[in-house]
């Protein structure tokens, strides 16, 4: 049975989730599961290996915004912010 495993941790700049290496649409599900949790902070940093095209409509639907921030080589790093 397929199980999604995406490492998650808390840092000064918010909650982090690393979805690199997961097949689609597992990153989408892991990120949305995280932001729908009651205890998630207003900022989430996503470590991805591609631009998650399918994520943006879902984020907008949930009142979150996304912007790219500098990351490692080969990484697409996003800062997700809960809209005020």
């Amino acid at each position: 049975m397929t199980e999604t495993f995406a490492p998650q941790w808390l840092d000064d700049d918010g909650a982090h989730i690393d979805v690199r290496g997961l097949p689609p649409p597992e990153p989408l599900v892991a990120i949305l599961t995280l932001i729908e949790r009651a205890d998630v902070p207003d900022t989430v940093i996503v470590h991805h290996d591609r631009d998650p095209l399918l994520l943006y409509p879902e984020l907008a639907e949930r009142g979150w915004t996304a912007e790219m921030v500098p990351g490692e080589v080969g990484e697409v790093r996003l800062r997700l912010t809960r809209a005020p």
Binding site: E3, V29, L53, A60, A66, V76
Partner: protein, 424 residues
Amino acid sequence: MTLAATFLGGARSRLLPASVPFAFFAAAVVFHLLAWLALFAGADEVATFSGGFGLPLAAIHLLTLGTFAMTAMGAAFQLLPVATRQPLHSVWPTRLAFWLLVPGVPLLAFGMTTGAPAPLWAGAIGATAGLATAGAVIADNLRRARDMPVVAAHGWIAIAALIGLTAAGIALIADFRGGFLADHQAVALAHVIVAAYGFMGFLVLGFSHILLPMFALSPLPPVRPAWWSYGLAVAALLIATAAAVTADAHLLAAAALLGLAAVALHLWLMAWIVRKRLRKRLDLSLRVMHLAWILLPAGPLIGLMLATGIAVPGGATLFGFLLLGGWLLTFLTGVLQRIMPFLASMHTAKLAGKAPLVSELTAVGPLRIHAVCHAAALAVISAGIGLDQTTAIRAGAASGIAGALAFGWFAVRIVLRLRRAQAL
């Protein structure tokens, strides 16, 4: 949503111009209406239809080549590169496939209605060239896919079936004049099986493994049952094709049993995905897909009954109607009504920097009308075929036309909202 142009730069190669998928979807919506109109006009020939020129044959090809293939291509050209992370080498073959199919399908349908050789051959050549071009694009992307072996394996069967169905289709058209086939009806049945189950069926079964988790926001389904379902479906397809060519009822019964087992596993996998979904509310598109899943076993079940000598009112005609109109059309309208607003949102995010919500782009009212009219059409036409009642078939087709118009209304609203958002 803050999306700098550079942010989408890397994605641009995977996100086709909106005009590509939406041109295919618009064509699918128009052919959907034309198919119902042809069925309405030819209602008196439907109950006893067993092949040959006429409006029912035209309606079938408007639906299969016009609606099914166009929907599959629009979705595959846009979503395969996203899912496989492999951009298309170039966009022009997708446009070529479109411009070959758009005149090819109505010409073929006109030729199939009248039996006139010129439009029949012109349409057949255009449609075949369009399908071959699209098949080459999909095959090239599948060849480079690494992450999705189950989806790719289904895709390869669909590509092989595409070659088989076009070869059989051309042979059948040539045979109308040449009369060289030993058994025209046997080849026609093989063409139906390979086209509906082999090509469209395997595309639907395979893409469901990625599309449904995307729509419902679920994890990927378990791999082992997915491979079992695939293996059983391949065996059923091969045996059913052999049974059609040899007119062997025992083989046909075996294929139907294997097909039912494959369907049972597929439905179990779909239920697993729906059960695990993050999106708690079942929107209309998923409910429409549920209706398609309910109707999916009807085809192999009726095939089994016919092969074992159990009388089925409407027999092979009912089998064909529930396979094409019941399962495939229902499922694909469910896909279209989910995918069109979703893609529109993705494209407007790219251009405007702010994505309109999917819920703002869709149009629930027309979709509800379509769902009711479509379900009514399926029920009334099935009864009309079973009871050999032309009036019921025509009334059902009228309901289908009303549903197709409502679906067109939904599609036009999305395109207008997409253009408005792009203009901002």
